[in-house]
Symmetry: C2
Subunit: 488 residues, 2 copies
Amino acid sequence: MSFAPILEADVELWSDTADVLIVGFGGAGACAAIEAADNGASVAIFEAASESGGSTKLSSAELYLGGGTKVQKAVGYEDPVEDVYGYLMASNGPQADPDKTRAYAVGGAEHLDWLMSLGVPFKMSEYPGRAMMALTDDCLMYTGSEKAWPYVDKFAPAPRGHNLKVEGDNGGPLFVQILTDAVRQRDIDVHLEARALRLIVDGFGPKQRIVGLVVRENMEERYYRADKGVILCAGGFVMNEDMMQRYAPELARSGTVPIGNPNDTGGGIQMGLSVGARAINMHEGFLSVPFYPPATLTHGIFVNGQGQRFINEDAYHGRIGCLMVKQTYPVYLVLNVEDYADYETASWLAAPIKGTGDTLNELASELDLPAGALQQTVSGYNDAVAAGVDSAFYKASAWLKPLSGPFVALDCTPGAGAFLPHFTLGGLDTTVDGAVLNNEGIVIEGLFAAGRTACGVPRRGDGYASGSSVGDATFSGRRAGKQVLAAS
Amino acid sequence: MSFAPILEADVELWSDTADVLIVGFGGAGACAAIEAADNGASVAIFEAASESGGSTKLSSAELYLGGGTKVQKAVGYEDPVEDVYGYLMASNGPQADPDKTRAYAVGGAEHLDWLMSLGVPFKMSEYPGRAMMALTDDCLMYTGSEKAWPYVDKFAPAPRGHNLKVEGDNGGPLFVQILTDAVRQRDIDVHLEARALRLIVDGFGPKQRIVGLVVRENMEERYYRADKGVILCAGGFVMNEDMMQRYAPELARSGTVPIGNPNDTGGGIQMGLSVGARAINMHEGFLSVPFYPPATLTHGIFVNGQGQRFINEDAYHGRIGCLMVKQTYPVYLVLNVEDYADYETASWLAAPIKGTGDTLNELASELDLPAGALQQTVSGYNDAVAAGVDSAFYKASAWLKPLSGPFVALDCTPGAGAFLPHFTLGGLDTTVDGAVLNNEGIVIEGLFAAGRTACGVPRRGDGYASGSSVGDATFSGRRAGKQVLAAS
């Protein structure tokens, strides 16, 4: 399959024309379509699958938003924009995009209002536990490393993960249903089982403008004209083995599992590249060791192949995952049996038990670690617990508890059986409003991107927070939906 | 400055025509030119600087070659191709390119012969010390982590760094002089102070062919036609702050220093991208903590902000550097004063002394480490030394020596004063013969790349060995110089 563009002059028959053509009916595409329509554009949206939703539907649809959202204020958090901005800039490290991050921090509260105006339900409540998503219908929770070192002392923490008012982990389907209804209620032309193949350009070369889309539907190739622009919202490339091997081989390491929908094959990114777009941050991604719930496992310690700790265990599971895969293997999570709790039923991790023991020596004899190393590490850790300060990694005092045995060690090493999911965070470089840039930083006329097809706010796996991708996808989709009209 | 291509039809006056046009007269460009000319092509080479050499001239011109080169055999190493291939594949990790790596392993001996046939002098000798390059006129030395864990038990080690027969660190100028003479002796049209600006194409779009080059020389823009192809050998992009920020922000971290020549501004990569080439591995690079010589510093231990060791200190300095910058800062090198030796005059590192002490407690009191951490680490290390096995990191026994004091700690933290150089290892994706590929993996007709403009054999900073870049640049330059004729 080639993604090379074709010339407008070679189109014999146009099937239809709209102001805005959108590739992909997931969270980003839906929001782009709604905003474009609400701003007066005629819109057509093309989805390769037989229903809307994309990877947003498969997710819990948490939204990472701050700056004093309606829910945050209702439960008592002001969450100043500067703390949101500061945390996101720091956690995205050298890759952070200041313009996109500021817009996202400033616009978070309004974005939640907008979603609520579409009917997305949020309970004015907080879920207090340490989990990946609320398992009740409560809304707000900490979904990143805001309360953990090295961020907690620099930026006032606040819970920013917004879960839908729905029991358990079912946010995605409801969220997508509401967005889909909103699209259907508008004069938006929806094409399902319609795979975008190529862009149509008014000419080849540096000054080309994107004027349409070739789509395969009903077993034929059809040509759609875009009077104002095309928005690529076709997800990332985690399901494309060739692209993963070429662009993100470390992320695709053996023993970890790609997550997303089957159409996350990078088609949007490829169409962009084929007209000269630049892709950035292509090696980066989310990579998690989803070890909580149960929260009690956070009382344990992760150790690497040297028997050393390497992280404050109260950090976000994705931060730990990204550091974990850079260690010498094996990697174990060592804890008291009493903290094992309901691990087998509550956890996504599924890491097998590597060893147990009433004493540390007994446990160590079942692990592949240098002699004495675990004992030394646990001794140092217990000293820190007794002193009340984890002076090595600054795990918060609430999580400090002696490792006194009996013990159990879970094998988190990639390939040993644990579920270690990953997805991509690289994509097309865009302006803060979603206009796609070429390799010289010049806007490609008529082309926009949002969601994981673009490189958005979340840029580092070790700085990721749950809700960042759906938050960024819907936020960036809206901005592109508006900008396509402003730019033309 | 725009790198966008122009149309052949828009060229009013061609200044000249050659079969092959080469951008950049460094190691890669020189070898491409020589091979193309020796295979019967007319060749013109364009260099932005006022003399030849590029970053090769600034280097020690070590060449990392194996598989039983003339020098290896003379001093008693067979170095089977499979060990070269295995080591390079392992050390380049998931990014390794099997085709390029095999060609390089298989062709190493012939490549040295070819360079010797041009007059490059190598002494049939080995330099036994642990250094970055031979400081005598001896030839062979270990310049990677071949004798270090985790490679030493998997692939039979052999010295593969080939230093020129010249006293001290002066390989680059001599090497370039010999290549330059070889170019001058052939019917190759050399243009100095001639900056390539844009490619010329026979048409825009997916089927375009590269047919020439726009060059700024003598204060005007001139147009050169390439009957068979253009080879981009313009170096990497380490001197382009904007590209570094966009593509390799982690590599460009504060406190480290770009090394290369001032024209390593990514012009070759940009010209490629402007005609639809794909760039890969753009985030990666070499990043070194050049702490030896003196070799005695290898008796010390590196510790991170937790006071933990994180590496076998007998690994290659670039491997240590890449792992070092992923640690929690500060990072110190702790050693006995007696091993400090001639550090101040012999070392490139220039890391300042952070603390000293007759006792470990005294030293620790001057360092920013968690209480007791350094003492625990040194105690564990000394136990390992006494046992004769570094069971945590497997530093070779020859380097195991008790840390008994008096002590000194060097501050290697980026920004604290140490010299920590970096350069890029990402570039245009090419076939094993240097043909440039577009985003779909299809060859762009008439376009080739070699050296750091392409993504070659060396792909990871933590697997780099000295001599890999000049080795790969000259090797890939030759292949491109031949392929441009075969492909047309």
